[in-house]
């Protein structure tokens, strides 16, 4: 009796719940909902280097001195500065060492404070002081102070070997030993304070050397040069701008970073709420200096499941959704959805080989000798080996079948449309099993061909297309010579850090994106002897090679200010990359963008990729 009653009540309740679905769903007319794959990590512009933080939140809430002309990656327009410095208008000195920015008046921060040149000077200096390990402040150090980071300066001034030597118990987050206090203060007074000066309404940058790429690290989409409110930042507990305690604010752990979850910028949106792991909600800043945005609310949700994102797009619960290439076809037939294709993205996928492999605990090289059961440690230092692999990869089949044609070949570390990019056919390796055979037969004086080789090729787990590329190399190598046994092995991210960055991977497939759209960034990273990748993963033999043949050119191209001359120099570097087969440059993805067709005003800028939006330009309507 009682049970039947309970069951009836339950059934009635369920009916009521379902009945409630029939009244009109709220269509979210004044919210734009964007769904991305990964969550935002921080709100601090000087900490961020993950794409969601940088482009979904910081770029929408903070402004920079300059902006890019709509959709361009090389033309600048004024933003918080009122003019773009050039030699012509006198704001850039002839020797390339001084950049002057006149500052716009009457710009408000979210909390009502007015923007002054003080804020700009403070923002840059804080970036230098903060300099977190693994962050992007190093981009300022190279032009402004010609070094890697503030710790390098501190060590030089104090005369110690390691930065932590100056602290009690070697803990940089602890107490500073009193004998170093004076030296540490000098770091600010003699170095950091000298890079930026204020003259009335103008902010002046003093570079340490001529740097053709300087303007590329200042504008919008470079979060590290976002302008924050000095007064507010100090109130929240950030660096007070003084020289006598700066080390306490240097490289904190995330939980001690006072700005990690709060926002106060001059950008068109304010932070409403951040629920880590779920969503970020932004709302319109009505006093924005460009005029208020068209849309009142923005909500970004973080959903890793493709199926869920797709269903949200289908039902209209999401306005913009991140769609991986292999599923684009599924979205094409959806009603009410607009797809924009053929957007060149600034990513570069390549196979890198280690010229001098680290043998310690290395299971990927077999016997470690050229005896058919493994490879010797300097296997890839022979140019014929490298060239052989470059000829044996079926580029066209890969791009058309695995990538569904959504990619273009890149001949070098430079992507289209960066300065210096060239599609000269001379620079591309063609797929030719004959030529590959020729090269391999010459490798190691013919021994390789006779004895064969056996090793592993590595790819990061979860990337189906990269596994396919590895399978292709393995398959075609075997086709050429059955004694070539190359087995693909997938690595979890933690394992790949351990293997690739300690020079253990014979071949590793890798995707890179530049931090800013100047060729120097990529070339240095992928070819320089001290490059982030080439200097750390390619091995001793490569470093020696690069020091002699690559570095001088890189320096020359960097100092050059004439764009045409620079382009020619970068083309020369590309030629070297090709001739020496420094890496196997695979492809540059062509991206796409997917939105519901009631969203208006979208435009593409490769810097923020199609996954992250400039919400100021968007609106929603029928």
């Amino acid at each position: 009796m009682k049970r039947n009653l309970l069951v009836t009540v339950l059934i009635l309740a369920l009916i009521a719940v379902f009945a409630s679905f029939s009244f009109a769903e709220v269509k979210n007319p004044d919210i734009i909902i964007s769904v991305i794959k990964e969550g935002v990590e921080t709100m601090d512009p000087h900490w961020a280097n993950d794409n969601p933080s940088m482009f979904e939140v910081i770029s929408n809430c903070y402004d920079n001195l300059l902006n890019y002309k709509r959709g361009s990656t090389s033309e600048f327009v004024p933003m918080l500065a009122t003019e773009v410095p050039s030699v012509k208008n006198g704001l850039l000195s002839e020797d390339g060492l001084t950049y002057t920015f006149p500052i716009r008046k009457g710009v408000k921060f979210h909390n009502g404070d007015i923007l002054t040149p003080e804020d700009i000077a403070y923002s840059i200096k804080r970036a230098l002081v903060f300099d977190r390990a693994g962050g992007l402040s190093y981009l300022f150090f190279e032009p402004l102070l010609n070094c890697i980071g503030i710790e390098e300066i501190a060590c030089k001034v104090a005369g110690v070997e390691k930065y932590s030597d100056m602290f009690e118990a070697n803990d940089p987050r602890g107490e500073l030993k009193s004998e170093y206090k004076e030296a540490m203060s000098k770091v600010i007074t003699d170095y950091v304070d000298k890079v930026v000066s204020i003259d009335g309404n103008k902010v002046i940058f003093h570079l340490a050397h001529s740097y053709g790429a300087f303007l590329s690290i200042i504008p919008h989409y470079c979060p590290w040069s976002s302008i924050i409110d000095k007064k507010w930042a100090i109130e929240q507990g950030a660096w007070d701008g003084k020289a006598d305690t700066w080390w306490k604010y240097h490289d904190p752990v995330k939980e001690k970073d006072p700005l990690y979850q709060i926002v106060n910028g001059t950008g068109p949106f304010m932070l409403k709420k951040w629920v880590p792991g779920e969503t970020v909600m932004l709302e319109r800043f009505d006093d924005h200096w460009r005029g208020p945005a068209k849309i009142k609310n923005v909500q970004t949700k973080f959903i890793t499941e493709w199926t869920t994102r797709k269903l949200m797009l289908q039902t209209g619960d999401a306005d913009i959704v991140s769609v991986p290439i292999q599923y684009l076809d599924e979205v094409k037939e959806m009603e009410g959805v607009r797809i924009i294709e053929n957007l060149p993205s600034l990513a570069n996928i390549l196979f890198m080989w280690t010229w001098t492999i680290n043998a310690k605990g290395n299971s990927y090289i077999g016997s470690g000798k050229l005896d058919g059961e493994g490879i010797p440690l300097d296997f890839f230092s022979d140019i014929h080996v490298r060239r052989g692999f470059c000829y044996l990869f079926p580029y066209d089949v890969y791009i058309s079948k695995v990538l569904k044609g959504k990619a273009m070949r890149s001949p070098s570390p430079l992507e289209y449309p960066l300065l210096g990019f060239s599609d000269d056919p001379e620079l591309y390796y063609e797929f030719s099993l004959e030529k590959a055979k020729e090269e391999f037969e010459q490798a190691w004086g013919g021994q390789l061909w006779e004895k064969g080789c056996k090793f592993n090729i590595n790819y990061p787990e979860g990337w189906v297309e990269h596994k396919a590329a590895c399978d292709m190399i393995s398959t075609y190598a075997k086709m050429i010579n059955p004694k070539f046994e190359i087995t693909p092995v997938g690595l979890q991210w933690s394992a790949s850090l351990d293997a690739a960055w300690t020079e253990k991977c014979p071949i590793f497939i890798y995707k890179i994106t530049p931090d800013y759209p100047d060729p120097h960034n990529n070339i240095q990273y992928l070819m320089g002897s001290k490059g982030g990748l080439s200097g750390f993963c390619f091995g001793e033999a490569y470093i020696k090679f690069a020091e002699k043949n690559v570095d001088p050119l890189i320096r020359k191209a960097l100092k050059e200010t004439d764009p045409e001359k620079r382009a020619a120099l970068y083309k020369e570097l590309t030629q070297i990359a090709h001739d020496q087969a420094i890496s196997l440059y695979l492809y540059q993805p062509i991206a796409h963008f997917v939105e519901r067709n009631w969203v208006k005003g979208w435009y593409y800028n490769p810097l923020r990729s199609s996954d992250y939006q400039d919400f100021y330009s968007l609106s929603k309507g029928e």
Partner: protein, 311 residues
Amino acid sequence: MNRTIRKLFSNASSLVGIVLLIIFIIIAVFAPIIAPPLSDDPYQVPRMSWNVNPQAPGFIMSDNIREVYDYMGKNVKQDRAICGTTEGGYDIFYGLIWGTRTAFKIGLITVIISAFIGVFIGSISAYFGGWIDEIIMRITDIFLSFPFLVAAMVLTTILGRGLDKVMISLITFGWMGYARLIRGSILAAKEETYVMAAKALGVKDIKIIGKHLLPNTIFPVMVQVTMNIGSMVITAATLSFLGVGAPVGYADWGQMVSFARNWIIGSPGHAGQYWYVVFYPGIFIVLFVLSWNLIGDTLRDILDPRLRGEL
């Protein structure tokens, strides 16, 4: 024993289970004939196409892949993907057949080893009692207090992908149930007169445990073993689904379904067009686990002393 087997065959549901199991055993044994391997490692599922999209059942191997196999002198007898391909072009049919062997491997090895460990630990603990019992039971409690799936995920992420690593994680966190079970039974049984008599006669402890106690108390463990084979396979499939577990391209049902989660909805207007990616591996998993569960369920009823005489 004979009575048990007779009862298993006479009960309808367990009969179905036994028949299913026999079918699976046949598939596993004859795998090399049903689905001839095309590479040195038979557990490496052959690709039918370089295309990322799953291909429908009946798809014929694409030309550039066939060229490669011809060149390498491999005789391609099976060039049709009867059940279609998964994301990345792996032949589903091949994966199903060899996956049967993988399922048996995972199920039997993990369960037998963890049962062995569990029974060993549990019987020592129960027989000797006192301090030993306390300490061993505390250690068992510690392992039991782990959230199983999370612990298995962590261990497999650390150890890396691979079937053996999955089995290690499952064994590490799977022995406790057996330990507790056998301990309960032995604690009750060791007060029996025949045990006391054996002790009085001076029979060695090991012999008492091995010859007298265990044979009389092992039945609940056997039931548990049958039930757990199925759940181990499901857990392994879950780990593959979550991205840790068998490597991509390995013949493992769970691995094949892990591709499926992104294709299950299909395109609008063609809802469920990639049904075969989920359906075939899914049905194999369900039937395999079902067969063990049906047998185990009936076995439990047969051996339940409270129901003796009823069944």
